[in-house]
Symmetry: C2
Subunit: 156 residues, 2 copies
């Protein structure tokens, strides 16, 4: 078979960008933590633990890493008669990650559907009108662009 034409025309700047992103949120638990915080409204250590079923030491490490990365803020709180515990909030940078997290979720609802469950076809709704929303490519005038009309390698 003939050698396929190489389509690699430059070093991977896109990959470098993704690499830097994954340096911040690049393990399974960190991404799931951010999803719980950003999409499900989880804030407390014990709630992250309950929802994710992750070991406390791993959870603590990942939360600390996300605070260090400027993605979560840590706040003490105290229940009556209990010791001080901590809850975590999203920074503005992490709030902007919701778009990518929702895009991952949207792909997963289609390509990794829940066994035996109803497939979710909506990933959110508008607050003001209750319209279903999804993630899409749009041009600079706000028009939706089909995926087959995009040159992804423009930015190399």
């Amino acid at each position: 078979m003939a050698q396929p034409e190489s389509t690699v025309t430059a070093t991977g700047d896109v990959s470098c960008t993704i690499g830097r992103v994954l340096g911040a949120v690049g393990d399974k638990w960190s991404l799931r933590l951010l999803c719980e915080a950003a999409l499900n409204g989880v804030t407390r250590f014990k709630d992250f633990q309950a929802v994710l079923g992750v070991a406390p030491d791993v959870l603590g490490q990942r939360l600390t890493k996300l605070v260090d990365e400027g993605l979560l803020t840590k706040h003490p709180y105290q229940e009556p008669g209990q010791r001080t515990r901590y809850r975590y909030g999203l920074t503005p940078a992490a709030e902007e990650l919701r778009l990518a997290l929702t895009a991952l979720q949207q792909w997963g609802e289609v390509h990794r559907p829940k066994d035996g469950g109803e497939p979710l076809t909506e990933v959110g709704r508008t607050v003001d009108t209750g319209k279903p929303v999804h993630v899409a490519f749009v041009d600079d005038e706000g028009r939706v662009v089909p995926a087959d009309n995009i040159d992804y390698r423009y930015s190399i």
Copy 2:
């Protein structure tokens, strides 16, 4: 300090979806491999290796995993006088991941910019008109929705 009101109202279906996604593409190298394939057009084993600087055994494992997950297809090719080598193509499911990968890239260009380099403000262009494109939330009529007008927890 008073106990903050818990906002956890259900088990984490969103997290479960993301968890299933990360089961398929959830390590740093797999996501970077997919970015190179989906956004940079890399196809050949040796090109993945050159661009990512990853050890051949790790690269081989990750490529095999992505083939097993139905995200890459593997094809033999042969250069004159050389042994058979392999190149990899995206499946339709992986092509649909471009949206989420581009959303991650878009976040990274803003929040993890390249040291000393020009920040990339575009992640692609339309093929037909050359307009810059980006990833956004849109409603079911194709109108862009601001992030602060979205109830992300609708789908719980």
